[in-house]
Amino acid sequence: MKRLTSIILATCVIGALAGCGKEAIPTERLGRAEGAVRSARETGAEGEPSAALHLRLAQDNLKRAKMLIDNGENTRAKYLLMRAEADADLARTLNDESKAKQMEQRAMSDLSNARSVPSGMPGTRTEVP
């Protein structure tokens, strides 16, 4: 009897340790979320105000998710990782948008300058002494 109890106890402990009945550690999601955050940082999202906000949200959620994983709360962690990845992706996209708008402004400004320069257009004669 004592032996059976021990076995049952041991199984439950092992089961609890393995998170039996709970979800597995969301390693793939974790990898994706970390990748998305890194990608956003590397492309300069921290420097763009609207992007920086979402990057911060992503980093916070990522940190909390890791703590939850350490506590074995993998289901809750999974959802936080989803949020983190989404915010990191958005941060990168907003940063790209900002760069694209700057490029557009520069191109328009260059065009405007080019248009306003007075030059030897057809019909203008150059004076030859």
């Binding site: 996209t93 790209d96 557009e104 191109a107 248009r115 257009m121």
Partner: protein, 265 residues
């Protein structure tokens, strides 16, 4: 329809906890609408599709379990995906504008370069022409017996003896080469030309007038035959009214017997 409504209400009551739409889902729906309406949204079709899928998952979760945390998480993600779709569409539209602006600027610059090249060619041509005129003038001055500038313009003078020899009004062969050089200058220049015939003071006035006119005409005819446009050149005879030397001496009278070819200012 009514059965669905009853089923829905029952389901919501069964679910129990707050069945008001969670703010995340409200935001997600609004974000999707905005994304779909963005100018250029056609450019980010894949992102918009993913956003729609994400919203669908959030809506399913809401109808399955109501405002549970997972619904709110899915709605949160759906809102972000819609924002991504909108942002990407805007960025693509901006890049296209940038490209168009660059192309137009290049086109402008090409036009300018072409115009500048044309102007340069034209300026070169004008310079070359002016060079030609200067060169022709030098030759013409050498061909004339004397050349000077006065208030009338450039005055090239040929003595009547050299021009006509013994005859009344036929250009002597010896003078033809010189007159040809003068004709070249007159043709290249754009200036108006007057040919003036002069005599000395000896003999009758009418005779001198007729002779000086005839000689001026003869020179004019030669010049026109050698390329000077006739509307630019006229001839007049002034007899002895404009002497340049003393008619009492032989040398003076010889000097006065002359034809002047004047390029007017």
């Amino acid at each position: 329809m009514l059965r669905n409504a009853i089923a829905m209400t029952t389901l919501m009551l069964l679910v129990g906890c707050s069945s008001t739409v969670p703010p995340e889902l409200v935001d997600a729906r609004a974000a999707y609408q905005r994304a779909a309406a963005t100018r250029g949204s056609g450019l980010a079709q894949t992102d918009l599709y993913e956003a729609r899928q994400a919203l669908g998952r959030a809506e399913s979760s809401y109808s399955d379990v109501g405002s549970k945390p997972e619904t709110r998480d899915l709605a949160y993600v759906a809102e972000r995906k819609a924002q991504i779709a909108r942002s990407r569409a805007t960025a693509l539209a901006s890049m296209e504008q940038a490209r168009n602006a660059q192309l137009e600027r290049q086109h402008l610059e090409q036009q300018r370069n072409a115009a500048a090249r044309m102007n340069l060619e034209r300026a070169k041509g004008e310079l070359a022409q002016k060079d030609a005129v200067i060169s022709a003038e030098r030759q013409a001055r050498m061909a004339a017996e004397s050349a000077k500038e006065d208030e009338r313009g450039l005055v090239l003078t040929m003595g009547s003896a050299m021009l006509f020899g013994p005859s009344e009004a036929k250009i002597a062969p010896a003078a033809q080469e010189r007159l040809t050089k003068i004709a070249e200058l007159l043709a290249k220049s754009k200036r108006q030309v007057v040919v003036v015939g002069h005599t000395d003071s000896s003999g009758k006035a009418e005779k001198n007038e007729a002779l000086s006119q005839k000689r001026a005409d003869a020179v004019r005819t030669f010049l026109v035959d050698h390329g000077v446009p006739e509307e630019r050149i006229r001839a007049e005879g002034v007899a002895s009214s404009q002497p340049i030397a003393d008619n009492k001496t032989t040398g003076g009278r010889a000097s006065n017997r002359r034809v002047e070819i004047i390029l007017q200012k």
